[in-house]
Symmetry: D2
Subunit: 216 residues, 4 copies
């Protein structure tokens, strides 16, 4: 799994601070009003009051590689986001060309499970290759490809939705693969914009889950 | 594949006509203003001008069964919609319990292809059963399940987004399975609300596709 | 101010329960599974875990009358909602035809304030009438109309967004007019669907506001 | 009226081209694949097919000053966008502090109309000042402020939604003030990202409006 930050709003903290400022002032901020020593605390204060809409003005675009289709199926359910995903209709896989897959850690503990897992994946890849050689369109041959198959995406999310994504997916009860993805994404954005993501984390403290970790 | 209309906005044409009316009148409409002889033409006229936002006030909820995960992956990309989907994390399949699958028509023309397709699917199901019996969680065992595996969803869309969905997915260039789904959904809503869906169809006449059907 | 529930999803609790069920079951629910004695507790349990997305399948449409443009300007900022609003471009007001207005309670305590308030509004209405008689288009004449001017809307929101709206706008720190509106809307939906709106209220318990009421 | 581009996605055409590429390729693009000579044509070709979703990865943030509340009320109806607007609840105007207003061109042609317009606005400002001095909260005093009152906003929109905004608001039938705003915004983004906005313009050619300009 690999996450690359392709682009983000330049001077994002300053842009967000400008948005915060304009809500409660008669005039736009001056450069002095937006001095780094002031921007950070201003943004933290307003976000701290729960007024997170200002964070929508900061946008982040990632290339995501090596996640399973099981993971991407969860990811694309976020509706306040933009996705461009590798199409299994138009990209032909197989033939040793790198139809990679993800094997969960839990399956790697037992050699019999590993063998059974790999047997299923080899059967899928063999069937895919056989069918595409027979002239079956890729969009139909892919029906045999498993959820373990890797995919690539370009994803754009704003900082507010990213915080929401982190709250849900950094929870230790989230599925392990999307949690791992959330950790990589957080590392990128915290390093890039530490002020905006100062509170990035799971939604602990307000957890209603049936099987809450109770601070396990 | 099966589509059931679970619920829809009662008197939807009248509700939409009320929304159309209020935009350009001083007072709310009377019952006489909303007589069926007037509502239908009023809605058709306003929608005909391209003012389709009034159609958002009519909402439709469907149960969808027997579509592949390949199909549902496309479907859930519509962001002006609500989805509740059968979870492969929490539902355990297999053991003869009905882990159904979809085989594309193109694969049914050649007995060798059928055999290869079924071999892959049996290998997947066998691996799934083996792993779940070994104690692998369903959420990890599902990594071997193919895109052909069927799923169930409850979906809610408003009439405006449904028309957009039809424009894209009733096109003969759309993937065959989601096109079949779009036809079943259209049959349901046209029968229920013929006025609102009078123009439901592919986006022909405004097609920019590279491989346009050119009215094939 | 007047709120009328024009339409809502029939059997909404049952529809929402169907959506909750399908996430974790192999088959769709039977009628017995959806018995009212079971639906209500099922929905409350799932919503209680914070899984509120199932509430999106229940939709509510209101006619709203007699609110100020100041109020509607806040209301239409909700983006997971549909609005059809009386247009000041296409509807000509004035001439005794009912260009109503809202006067805040705080302005009614002092006769001088009342007089000043009404002087401004009469000047606005006189200018509007003068200009429209002179042939100025309504869309330009309305520039003199005050925020106090009343408006009408048709609004559709799903139950999840309504709960979010209530959390923000039933707070005693919300602006009084939209809070009054939220109370009227809540009364409608709680009466119609008591199960879905069992928790409808301000976001107390999780308040981060600077000037929190602290349970005043 | 003044529009300032506060920020935009760096190398936006390259980012969008990366998104276009990943949909139909096995691997992410190399630097050579993303050479400016290739990016531009690739993006124009894909957008030309109507596949505009890739444009969502380019985001633009503006400061908007000197537009009327009549204009901003239309603007904030765009739901695929983020707005931070000067609050009339928390900002106190008046007292010569610059409670500016917009007068439509149509009102400036006749000295009597100008006088009537200004009389209404002076009455509003006088009432506002009187009330705030009397201790009426700004959020209530603003009820007398007219739609002509200017406001400030920070707005973020992605390139796809901007093209949609241009289609609707650059139409000569759009309200003059928001059309003027759309022209200023277009000038900013066309200058910054000419490839992405090569087609920015009104939706002519597909016009369904009742009172179409017919190419006036």
């Amino acid at each position: 799994m690999k996450v690359t930050l392709l682009a983000s709003t330049p001077n994002a903290t300053k842009v967000v601070a400008t948005a915060a400022w304009i809500c409660t002032h008669l005039e736009l901020p001056t450069e002095a009003d937006l001095h780094p020593d002031k921007c950070g605390p201003m943004v933290k204060r307003v976000v701290g009051y729960g007024h997170t809409s200002i964070l929508e003005h900061a946008s982040f675009t990632f290339a995501i590689e090596g996640v399973s289709r099981a993971c991407s199926h969860q990811l694309v359910r976020y509706r306040i986001a933009s996705f461009s995903q590798q199409s299994q209709r138009f990209v032909k896989f197989g033939n040793g060309s790198g139809c990679g897959y993800v094997m969960p850690e839990s399956c790697k503990q037992d050699v019999e499970v590993i063998e059974e897992f790999e047997r299923a994946l080899m059967a899928a890849e063999a069937a895919y290759d056989f069918m595409t050689k027979k002239g079956i369109p890729a969009e139909d041959a892919r029906f045999v490809l498993p959820s373990a198959t890797t995919t690539k995406l370009v994803m754009t999310m704003n900082a507010r939705e990213l915080l929401h994504f982190f709250q849900q997916r950094l929870c230790i009860k989230a599925q392990w693969e999307i949690r791992e993805l959330a950790m990589l994404i957080r590392a990128e954005v915290v390093s890039k914009e530490p002020v905006l993501f100062a509170t990035a984390g799971p939604g602990c403290g307000n957890c209603k889950e049936k099987r809450s970790c109770q601070g396990e």
